[in-house]
Amino acid sequence: MSAFLKLLFRNRLAALGAVVLGAILLLVLLIPVLPLKDPNATATADRFLRPFSEGHLLGTDHLGRDLLSRLLHGTRLSLAVGLAAALIAATIGSAIGIVAGYFGGRIDNLIMRGVDMLMAFPYILLALAIVAALGPGLMNALIAVAAVNIPFFARNIRGITVGLAGREFIDAARLAGLGHTRIIVSELLPNVLSTIVIAMSTTVGWMILETAGLSFLGLGSQPPQADLGSMLGEARAALITAPHTSVVPGVMIFLIVMSINLLGDGVRDALDPRLRSGALSRPRATTLVDRTGPVPEDDGKGLLALQQLQTEFHVGKRVFRAVGGVTLHVEKGECLGLIGESGSGKSVTALSVMGLVSSPPGVVTGGAVRYAGEDLLAMRYADLRQRRGENVAYIFQDPLATLHPLYRVGEQLAEAIRCHHKVSESETRERALELLRAVRIPNAESRLGDYPHEMSGGMRQRVGIAMALANDPDVIIADEPTTALDVTVQAQILALLDDLRRERGLAIIFITHDFGVVAQLCDRVAVMYAGRIVEQGPTKAVLAAPAHPYTSRLIACVPELGGGRRELAAIPGLPPSVDDLPPGCAFAPRCDKAQTACRQGEIALEGTGPRAVRCLFPEEAV
């Protein structure tokens, strides 16, 4: 609770709302002790006195009544009525919602049908109908406003109750023999109470406004009693000659509603954990680059080379070192496998290449990414954009999420071509067809008009590959392109990628967590753990004789077909969190060969020829 309040008041606008609302409430509560004039004492000789007149701080109205006194009394009335309406609506609405959600079935159906009907009205029509039936008057306006807001509560609370009603603790209560009423009151209600309160805090402003509106129309409070709305309604006749009589109550309504809105927003934001992590801020067009150290020199290795690349996520005060100095390269026509568990930093490494890591919170803090010798990290956005897709293209995991759901496949392919080359519409179409055929999509012609959701997972992944090939790139970075697919489709996709590499001389960086796939496709492999490369070398050599204990454990995790029954060796424990890495080897806590030396100081990636390992006690010497 105190953490919540701290969060709430760190939001300066919410704090401002609280202060304004608090001040208004205080003034209203102090009415009995303040030296106010009688709000209903008329003095026609003193009508329409301007503000700051003697004895009348805010002036007088058309009957010579003191405006300050009427304002405070009116505010008190408006607040009370709005609050009462909110309470009534919340109580009845929540009761309906809980009953509907708890009993479900036909009762739920019937109630929610009724609620939907009520919601089919613009709110004022319903309120007007109720006031028309009951007759004008403040009490009736209150009933009307409360009634109009019941469906809102009923629907919200029902939604939450439905979720809760299926949970184990409700079943347990039922099995314990508790009656429906007991369960609702003692088990369900405490769990939905916070939602009810939040819903009330966001609607009470509306209800104050709505009752004020009805009074403004002359349908709410009747003279001489006046709430803010009827003060404004009465003042309207003299709007031009004595504007202050309108401005005074109007500004008060504005202040009340605004402060409630600010506070309500603050409450919502403080409760929404996504906002706290900064996840709702907009990612920039490229990843933020903020390199503190010197940029490594070009060493002429590979078509695409990563040198000491460091990428971090800055969330609040915590720093997650997702990529901690990765050096890799890939040659023309070569396929490099990048393997590791989830969270090892392989995807972030891949996305860092073309500045696709979301910023905020991602920041590249060191190293270089060289394409044909040029440092991509130092490039202006416009130049980097031209290389995206044209020189280095991506294939992503889960093609349902990575293809735009509202554009046809043909449009998405065409766009990939046309944002790099000025070609005619018919040529683009020809090229798109050619691409779909190249990735062996049957009936390519008719598929162009399909939306992604109309295709199977395998077909969608082929579209993703076709899109990556659209501009004949030199490098393709494939981020787990087959993880979401079933085995037969996976084999087809892998064969397709392999063919493409051989036909077009593509360089591929293939990211996966599956050594089986690496064995099939990759010339070389690099193993990642906790943001660093722990071993690399030619696939065959690494598979035959893994040097790092982590690598050998990973390989042992792959079940062998026809290998008979044997125990599958899962690796105990989880990868470490990259915001607080232990000194020394990050794998040490899970390694059965770890010794004290492993937990002290930096361990280098060392080796001879193409192989290297980051381990003090490797399984094999390299």
Binding site: L134, A279, A285
Partner: protein, 315 residues
Amino acid sequence: MGRYILKRLASAIPVLLGITVIVFLIMAMIPGDPATAILGSYATPENVEKINRDLGLDKPLVQRYFIWLGNMLQGDFGRSFSLNRPVLDEILDRFGATLILAGTSFVLCAVLGIVAGVVSAARQYGLADKAITFTVLIGISIPAFFLGMMMILLFAVKLRWLPVSGMYAIYGGGDLPDLLRHLIMPALALAAVATGVIARLSRSAMLEVLRQDYIRTARAKGVPERRVIYGHALRAAMVSIIPVLGIQAGFVLSGAVYIEIVFQWPGVGRMLVDAILKRDILLVQGGVVFVAACYVLFNIMVDVAQSLLDPRIKT
């Protein structure tokens, strides 16, 4: 698509019937004797009996409902006693004015709201974002009727740019420019709150969408940032913005009641308030049912628009 529209129209029939039931039941709540309420001090026993007979109030509730419904279906909404003319004629005479006002406001709030929200999201935490967020906050906190009154003071009384109220000038005028001059202030005052709500929603919808995987795909393809935001992201965000447009149309229609009073606009809203104050029940009943039905039909149009935008909706 044609079949989808028909299907949606058919599904509106129970909703429309439900609306008539609700309105009818509310009106049946009238405490005491409605005839006495209508007649006031003229409530002699003969008059009361005559009214009861005329309005069919001597029959049972269910029968009364079906008579009322049957008459409405034949275009007979009853007769307004305060205006002494058929209810439907009065509604139709005034509905045009409400449609012009609310329609203009709706277009204004949709266009301004979406543009403001998208710009705000595209320049998150920038100057434009802060300015828009601040304006929106003020916009959604000012009651429409108060904003209307302040606009009259500033633009009509002080600056004398625009006419104070009404739909047409009393002398001369009556043409389109005259109408537009009268329309500017009420339409803007009416649009203010809805614009704010739509702007807020559009902003958060855009921010949500901009984090989706397909946006990263678009960037990876090399799509220019401008097209990523105003093409890919906006299109996807519209899927969550359009339903809210339907809801906000209801708020615009509601606000029109206040604005018609403030600006002396000869629409249905003013008619309803007058009818309530005069206890002209048939006029209220007919007006409420008519406007609610229009709103239901408008929401079907919103659904159709949504299905045109989003191919995943089964039509």
